[in-house]
């Protein structure tokens, strides 16, 4: 009885957020808080929803497998017991973030996300994960404080907190500082190179469902905010030089992350470094975004969704492989295909998305970015993107080539009963990421939806 009640509270919260997304009211007030949805936030909500359902299913399978063959009695029950409430609160606050329309409210949701993510990543009780979680907590707090300092400056300048109203104000002294502080805070949370150092250990040492959550959803949340601030709310403050620097950092992330990924010996670390690299692409999109175009959100959303689905699938697959093989050393993974065909297949398809091959979401995004690079006569970004895809192919195939081969002397481990829930959710997400390109027309129509506003705490 007892452990059920707490998730209920968390679940209730996430439920409210969903509710709010659909109720419409036109009451906006200057002191109250309003929530809003528009195309991009709806798409992010959609991504969160789809990913979270599959992660939830997978987590059920994952924990039941671990409890059935425990490495330490009682440990996995405890993990399970705390996983649900933490995950539900995280999910709720993610949704809250995508709907938030108030700059201080965003701070609180960021803290909620940060805290629950840290607690989740510390769940696998080994020392390395706890140290990584601690570092993650410090970085997360540093990021939030920088953001909060930005809010202080902004409030000093404008005495406004509502995003829609901030969009309309003219640039003033102090706004630049505030904008820079908020951006740096969010970049830290998004693990933009060279502020990425905390990400690989935190993501790689967590439990598999948690790694998936962190990599697919949590970093995307702060990225979403960053992109919104730069191109939607505070676009007047953005200078070409700043965009160029961000693009350079993104380039650094792509190369550094990919090369590090190639050097790893553990599958999960490889996937975690690939997250660093893939986030780099999202930042390369900055200098290539033309806000006069209606669909300027599309490349980043495509990339974020494709990466979210694919990365979740990869972490889930690596988790399933770990559970069966008891390690995740890349060089010793030959022959896994024999007893986990679906998982291996899912991993491969997800890899195809990372490489940006058609018709995946990554392909559409890369296509649009390279296209924009040519149109804006900044073709060098296009070369960076292409080289990044090649490196991605290299690190994806480093694992896949091991998974696929069956040397004649392979010892096939005895086939164990494994849960459907361990194998099929990753495949579902992987296929979804692969056909995301075909779903692009629907994404476009969602992007073009008009804005809806909900205010909370009615002062009429």
């Amino acid at each position: 009885m007892a452990p059920i009640l707490i998730p209920l509270g968390g679940g209730l919260l996430s439920f409210i957020f969903y509710r709010k997304g659909f109720s419409i009211s036109l009451l906006a007030s200057i002191v109250g808080i309003s929530l809003r949805t528009d195309g991009p936030s709806l798409l992010m909500l959609l991504m969160t929803g789809v990913t979270s359902i599959t992660i939830t299913l997978y987590a059920a399978g994952y924990f039941s497998f671990r409890i059935a063959s425990p490495s330490k009695p009682g440990r996995h029950e405890r993990q399970l017991q705390f996983f649900w409430p933490l995950w539900m609160i995280l999910l709720g606050s993610l949704n809250g973030l995508f709907l938030a329309g108030d700059i201080f409210n965003i701070y609180v949701t960021l803290e909620l996300i940060g805290l629950s993510a840290v607690a989740l990543s510390a769940l696998s009780a080994k020392p390395s994960s706890q140290i990584a979680a601690f570092r993650y907590l410090l970085v997360s707090l540093l990021g939030s404080l920088s953001y909060l300092l930005g809010i202080a400056f902004l409030y000093k300048t404008y005495a406004l907190l509502d995003l829609d109203m901030l969009r309309l104000v003219p640039p003033m002294k102090g706004a630049h500082t505030a904008f820079a502080l908020m951006s740096v805070g969010l970049m830290l949370k998004t693990a933009l190179f060279p502020m990425h150092f905390w990400l690989p250990p935190a993501h790689a040492n967590a439990l598999a469902p948690v790694s998936a959550i962190l990599s697919a959803l949590v970093v995307k949340a702060s990225f979403y905010l960053l992109f919104r601030f730069w191109f939607d709310i505070f676009n007047d403050l953005v200078t070409p030089g700043a965009l160029f620097v961000i693009g350079l950092l993104g380039t650094g992330a792509v190369f550094w992350g990919s090369i590090q990924a190639l050097r790893q010996h553990r599958m999960k670390l490889l996937i975690a470094y690939s997250t660093v690299a893939q986030l780099g692409y999202l930042f390369i999109a900055f200098p290539l975004t033309q806000i006069q175009e209606k669909l300027y959100w599309l490349p980043v959303i495509c990339m974020a969704m494709g990466h979210g689905f694919a990365k979740t699938a990869m972490f889930m697959a690596s988790g399933a492989i770990f559970l069966h093989v008891k390690h995740d050393r890349i060089n010793e993974l030959t022959g896994v295909r024999a007893y986990l065909p679906v998982t291996v297949f899912a991993y491969t398809i997800a890899g195809v998305n990372l490489m940006g091959l058609p018709p995946s979401g990554g392909f559409i995004a890369k296509w649009m970015l390279i296209y924009a690079a040519f149109e804006m006569h900044k073709w060098w970004w296009g070369i960076v993107i292409m080289l990044g895809s090649l490196l991605a192919a290299a690190y994806v195939y480093r694992v896949v080539s091991k998974l696929y081969v069956m040397p004649p002397d392979t010892i096939i481990i005895e086939k164990k009963a494994h849960s459907m829930l361990l194998e099929w959710p990753p495949l579902f997400l992987a296929i979804l990421s692969l056909i995301l390109g075909i779903l692009a027309p629907y994404m476009v129509s969602i992007l073009l939806l008009s804005k809806k506003l909900v205010s909370i705490g009615g002062i009429m």
Binding site: V31, L115, K126, P127, A132, L138, L149, I151, Y155, A204
Partner: protein, 110 residues
């Protein structure tokens, strides 16, 4: 006016001092303290925006924000402390540099 200025500059100073300590100090507890320093600095700056010469027009919104911020700060500090204790329990050390061997990934996890 000059009072608020002193307060806000002090706030920024606290923030920067905390930031310095956060990078330079290696002990987990000191890092947590540094973060708290920074938070206090930000709150100090934020609360000065509420000031107005007319006592009736003291802005309540920053005050509310600071109250919320303090609660958040308390919560995060608590979690950080628990985590730090736990790290020390399992590794026997709470100094970041000495934790290096434990940060290695052995390819086997639990």
């Amino acid at each position: 006016m000059i009072t608020t200025l002193i307060y806000s500059v002090t706030g920024i100073a606290l923030f920067c001092m905390g930031f310095t300590a956060l990078i330079l100090c290696s002990h987990l507890l000191r890092k947590i303290l540094a973060i708290n320093f920074m938070a206090s600095g930000v709150f100090l700056l934020l609360i000065t925006t509420a000031y107005s010469p007319d006592p009736a027009l003291l802005d309540p919104v920053p005050q509310a924000m600071v109250l919320t911020g303090i609660v958040v700060s308390v919560s995060t500090t608590a979690l950080a402390l628990v985590l730090a204790c736990r790290v020390q329990e399992t590794t026997g050390s709470a100094v970041f540099k000495r934790l290096l061997p434990f940060r290695k990934n052995k390819g086997q996890k639990d």
